[in-house]
Amino acid sequence: MKAQRGDSLNRIGTLQDDSTTVPPITDFRYHSSFSSSIKKQPVSAFFFIPCVQAYRQKLIENLSLDSQGRPFKIMVFRGSPKSSRKSIRFVDELRQEVAAIFEKDCKQTPYRCIPKGEKRVLDAPRLRNDYYSNIMSWGMNNILAVALGPELYLWNSEDQAVHKLLQVRGGNDWPTSVTWSEDARTLAIGYMCSNLQLWDVESSKLIRSLQGHSGRIASTAWNGHILTSGSRDKSIINHDVRAANSLASCIKRHADEVCGLKWSTEGNRLASGGNENLLYIWEASKMSSSKFLHRLSDHCAAVKALAWCPYQNNVLASGGGLSDGCIKIWNTEKGICINNIETKAQICGLEWNRHHKEILSGHGYSIRENQNKLCLWRYPSMTKVGELGNHKSRIINLCQSPDGITVISAGADETLRFWDVFGPPTAGAGNSMVSDLQGLLSFRTSLLR
């Protein structure tokens, strides 16, 4: 190290220098601290440091003088007054921002109160304790049709008037499925003995009887003028109620009773759930050829509860019976299960909340939890928001009011309980929710990149 004073070129040690002398500490060109677990060979052989103490000594000695004996002072740049130096990684900040937006979308601020108690309880004597029946329907005309044993009652939600529509004589037949048509002008009633009737409620008259099944009709669903019925005879029949020969198509695909039937909101797809644990998705146009779109066998028990998502096309929720207890959310476009919640209880009904992104499940028997309860789940995070339920025994059916605020649960304890669980409706919920959902459900695994 040529430390010659008076040199016009003040050189601080360079590579060519004579390396036999211990270089002063200011010569250390590059320092790097390695964690103690990573042992690496010193990369530069030119500068040998006899030992750490000597280094430290030199440090202290030379703290204020550099190699030439020139005093120096050290300053650290603290940025111009106006600069805002980001000290965290940009990508971390981005992630946090996006996560915050996502959280905000999922959460509601302030979160609404879910009522703990029911708004109303109606006595429902002789309500049949049968898992497979669908004995309730709430029409657009605000009339609730419910079959209690062999009788069918109409309850007007506006004036709470009760009116008995019909009673089946004989004792060995009773309604097993009740569904209002979309315009609530016709009531379709399926019977134990495989009869299917259409009633005009204004005049309390039977319009027509449809034939075709040989077993009890446990599930029915309307799609405009098409009435689809599913039966214990394992077949699904599509009736065109305008035609004289109403039978439009008959599909024999299920291996057991068809206990769940739901048309999508657009009317292009039909979901059918069977007692053999299968869930079929059908295209409306292809039903006559008995060719299904998807055959989904993920459930381990009867698939009775079916509900199409009101804000995302082609998203279907299905619930399994006692051995299954899972709510599965499906993309029926691709036929894949996009979410699965284990509720560990028999699911008898599923209802989507049109006003908030939630889904409600009604439960029956359970070995562990959620017995006889209604559970509310956030969508799409599927976190449990809350549970309701004062039923003394299992819930058989769920149905939703036309305004989408109230849900009725029919229980084996012979009560109908009304829960105002879906409200209050958010202003302008419609469009904004769809676009938010579009983003969330676009099947990107991460929101960033």
Binding site: S8, L9, N10, R11, I12, T14, L15, T26, F28, R29, Y30, H31, S32, S33, F34, S35, I38, K40, P42, V43, S44, F46, F47, V52, L59, L63, D66, R70, P71, F72, K73, I74, M75, V76, F77, R78, G79, S80, P81, K82, S83, S84, R85, K86, S87, I88, R89, F90, V91, D92
Partner: protein, 195 residues
């Protein structure tokens, strides 16, 4: 034989200070990029020194480095700057992880008498290129910085230099048990930049 245009062969003191401070700006960016202090996507490529250099697009960092190099340039012209050290610290623990030392040698003759030395642009550029390449290749033997890091820039100046508004006196932020690597140096004949 085509005549070669000889341009800017004489490097004046001023020009030299500009070259060095500009070099430092690019070197700082390069270190930030290569060591992963800031994410790669926040950098944009520019052509400089005949190499693709990466400059940060983050406004805060950009203005930080600009203001910093402006001050360095001032000190360089006055011949007061002895070295610049870029320190990379862990954001969480504030422990110094890396220390990039840029030593400056000043030809005091030039400062005092205003005499200029000669060195072609191209030669200087080549030397700077070599250093830049070395910085870029340092990622092959330096350990990964897994955690979020922050950086600081220290300037070693003569004691008679007044501390400017945006700087504060500091400790050297040394590393205990360091391991070192020496990189190349370049000089513009007045300034010698040894890293």
């Amino acid at each position: 034989m085509a005549s070669r245009t000889v341009a800017k062969d004489i490097i004046t003191l001023r020009g030299s200070a500009a070259i060095v401070s500009e070099f430092f700006g690019y070197a700082a960016n390069s270190i930030l990029y290569n060591r992963g202090v800031y994410p790669e996507e926040s950098f944009a490529k520019v052509k400089k020194y005949g190499l693709p250099m990466l400059l940060t697009q983050d406004e805060g960092v950009k203005s930080f480095i600009t203001n910093l190099t402006a001050q360095l340039s001032e000190w360089l012209e006055a011949g007061k700057l002895q070295r610049v050290v870029m320190v990379i610290m862990s954001k969480a623990t504030k422990a110094v992880l890396e220390r990039w030392n840029f030593s400056i040698e000043t030809d005091s003759d030039v400062v005092e008498k205003g005499v200029s030395r000669e060195k072609s642009d191209r030669e200087i550029m080549r030397e700077i290129q070599a250093i830049m390449r070395q910085i870029a290749s340092s990622i092959t033997y330096l350990p990964c910085l897994d955690e979020p890091c922050v950086f600081d820039v220290l300037a070693y100046t003569d004691t008679d230099v007044p501390v400017p508004f945006t700087w504060i006196e500091s400790d050297p932020k040394l590393i205990a048990n360091p391991q070192m690597v020496k990189l190349h140096s370049f000089d513009t004949k007045k300034e010698t930049q040894a890293i």
